[in-house]
């Protein structure tokens, strides 16, 4: 329970809202998260984009992306607000921490394998069955 969850919240803002209002909206959302005890680690505007299909007579939308760290309570509140807001025409929340941890593990395993090289079997035999030595993860690009 102790560990933080990481979520990616992507939402589409009505393209007809003026820019300052859109920024206000996103600031507002980020306050909601912090009020609930979460943190917004990433807040970016992905820009205006043609929608793949029409959503309520709109063919365009401005995509915003949040990355939120927290317990999940702030997500509930955030989603409630977005549902009510007229400017937000669609939103999607994806929990990403588990996926990322898994990817991290895979990458570590690969790094270990690569560093052991082709003589791994011989080295393991010489090591007297102690198993592979723990190694720090090599060359990780962040996240």
């Amino acid at each position: 329970m102790a560990e933080k969850r990481v979520y990616e919240v992507i939402f589409i803002v009505d393209p007809d809202t003026p820019e300052d209002e859109a920024t206000r909206l996103s600031e507002n959302f980020s306050h909601i998260v912090t009020d609930q005890g979460g943190t917004v680690t990433r807040n970016e505007v992905m820009g205006r984009r043609q929608l793949a299909y029409r959503i309520g007579r709109k063919t365009e939308g401005v995509y915003h992306l949040f990355e939120v760290e927290g317990t999940g309570r702030e997500i509930a509140e955030l989603e409630r607000r977005m549902r009510v807001s007229d400017q937000v025409i669609r939103y999607l929340t994806v929990r990403v921490d588990e996926e990322r941890r898994r990817a991290e593990k895979l990458r570590e395993r690969r790094a270990r394998k690569a560093s052991k090289g082709p003589h791994a079997a011989a080295a393991a035999a010489a090591g007297g069955g102690r198993g592979p030595a723990p190694q720090p993860p090599a060359d990780d690009d962040e996240a």
């Binding site: 992507i10 589409i12 992905m46 984009r49 929608l51 793949a52 299909y53 959503i55 939308g61 995509y63 992306l65 669609r90 939103y91 999607l92 994806v94 996926e99 990322r100 898994r102 990817a103 895979l106 990458r107 690969r110």
Partner: protein
């Protein structure tokens, strides 16, 4: 007949292992091989060591949805099962937020 169709739709451009079909597989396999040799498809996500398929990467995902908007089956793309699963999930997420179409109209 069906073999011809699947050959035409061979989307997987970036594998160049000319290995033929391993023997004994299926009824149609013929060791001498008339016509062009079938390529063995290699999962391109495995080759590139992709651990996470991002639903926001529209360019990537677009390669796996033919005109109709359906998800390209792995028998055509050659993607391995775990990656196909991730890919399908990513495409569905992308559809939800209108990055990709559910159908072509």
């Amino acid at each position: 007949m069906s073999r011809n169709i699947s050959r035409e739709r061979d989307f997987d451009a970036d594998d160049d292992s000319p290995a033929g079909r391993p023997g004994g597989g299926g009824g149609g396999g013929r060791p001498g091989g008339r016509g062009r040799m079938r390529r063995r498809k290699v999962c391109r996500f495995c080759v590139d060591k992709v651990d996470i398929i991002d639903y926001k990467d529209v360019r990537l995902l677009q390669g796996f949805i033919p005109e109709r908007g359906k998800i390209l089956p792995r028998r055509i793309s050659g993607v391995c099962t775990p990656h196909q699963r991730m890919l399908a999930e990513a495409i569905k997420r992308a559809r939800n937020i209108a990055l990709l179409p559910y159908t072509a109209d």
